[in-house]
Symmetry: C2
Subunit: 340 residues, 2 copies
Amino acid sequence: MTIANMNSIAEFENHLKTLPGSNKGFSDQAAAHQDILTKPQGSLGRLEEIAIWMAGWQRQVKPSTDNCQCIVFAGNHGVAAQGVSAFPPEVTTQMVENFKKGGAAINQLTDAAGATLNVVALALDKPTNDFTVTAAMSEEECLSALRAGAKAVDKDTNILLLGEMGIANTTSAAAVALSTFGGTVQQWVGYGSGIDEKGLKLKQQIVANAVDLHTQNQNSSFDILRTVGGRELAAIAGAVLEARHLSIPIILDGFISTAAAAVLLKDNPAALEHTLVSHLSAEPGHKKLIDVVNKKAILNLGMRLGEASGAAVALMIIKAAVAAHNGMATFDEAGVSANE
Amino acid sequence: MTIANMNSIAEFENHLKTLPGSNKGFSDQAAAHQDILTKPQGSLGRLEEIAIWMAGWQRQVKPSTDNCQCIVFAGNHGVAAQGVSAFPPEVTTQMVENFKKGGAAINQLTDAAGATLNVVALALDKPTNDFTVTAAMSEEECLSALRAGAKAVDKDTNILLLGEMGIANTTSAAAVALSTFGGTVQQWVGYGSGIDEKGLKLKQQIVANAVDLHTQNQNSSFDILRTVGGRELAAIAGAVLEARHLSIPIILDGFISTAAAAVLLKDNPAALEHTLVSHLSAEPGHKKLIDVVNKKAILNLGMRLGEASGAAVALMIIKAAVAAHNGMATFDEAGVSANE
């Protein structure tokens, strides 16, 4: 029984309840190694924390970043027809073509960071249902998207970057976050790709209506994804779960990716331990989301593009952390006097 | 007359008063280019700002990061004998050896970021004078260090990273910052490489004494560097000035590098326009310093190592910014619909 082959909600939920943890033996050894490297202890700050964290998840004192996989999942949303985005719905398909031709931001950023880019287009010709009217997906559609996410994970990858493309998917992500964590639409709904004030009010109303409609049927991660999620969001959740069972650390991108992963906390509060949040998005709900899931973004660069763009930039920081950890000489090796 | 050959304070001050600026034509063209790339306008946040800024200084719409030079200047300080560091003074020389053998953090980080590393050791067998007793350097010693900094700059570099190594140089940097910008020793003096509370009090007293002793003779950037600076700090200032006349953008490292560069503001408030501050150091004076010089650190990772380590990590962000700017397709090229 693997996640990529699961055939029922019960199987999904069983996978989500039985999560392996980080290996404390390896992270402790990595921490001890950091303390004898030629620098004042702790002086590499977050880089030290990241290297130690990577060691625990990769189960090796010196983690590797040789194989870095970035997956961008793309999906279309029925709710897009209500005009919640600054861009028309056909842009999802057009951008997938742009990814394939190498012209998008994520192509340049994964090249610069040294990651393989995989683009997984999920039934773009069949948008999800408008979730202000009915559930976004059937059970089988949602399971299928979860499986697609799990299947896309390369089991040999050292670290996995997750991102998305989908016109109207900040609307879906806001509905997912509201359904998972409560709060108000004002806290979760933002300008997305660049709507105006009037558009923002409409988007808030749509998210409120959707969650009102579905809230009684949102007792699990699966139900939230099915009712107000989207295919690319479910795929991200599936990839997060698959990577956990493979002990592959993950770099989440921005608001949408974090929301898609965070829905898993509804069933298991430990579900995001193997993930880092790459950056604090300019989409305002992301700050609240990062706080709620108790993470600390690595970067704060005012980005709000999606596509895993923030994850790709953060990968560079992870590579720097691992390079210092793996390559530095110890005080003894270098003949440098330790502190007095 | 070049900066690397200047023979008098008057020549230095003339170079510092006649600074070329950024080219607005190229930065405007770069901004217009950003606006037609396949992403919502502004959605790459700081990455867009950096690419546009680079275009202005490099005087080309598509900036280059092919040749990245990192220089670490090393110097010894007479004041180290007073026990202001957690490490003994011989560590400066030992770390220079470590740099040369490839074992330090900066070796791994410049390798990871793709920068050439040059280490310039400045008369390590002749520490500066203890500046609580007399001026740290003679006029000729200070000029010599400024020249060494200027000489080390590769005129073909696309972007220059500046860092330092020198036991006790946070003490010197705090004295330079206090002399340049005023304030209190509590604001500028921190734990450096890891001293205790007792050491902190001693360090504060030493900085106060030094600035009291020299304040009447600190009417210029040069005088501040000469009286309470160090060779590596003066070299950084010389490199900042040389790079400006070559229109080479600079990434400053942490507290010491920023203080060494910022002293130039005493004579010319435009002196740091061609510099970025790579990261917010955990050394507490750095936040105040960044505020005073009106910069916004690119990263905040709790680093406090020096060696240009923060600059090397930030170079990765600059490379990401330039890669996106130079490589992305436009809406027209990709056949993607623009926003409505």
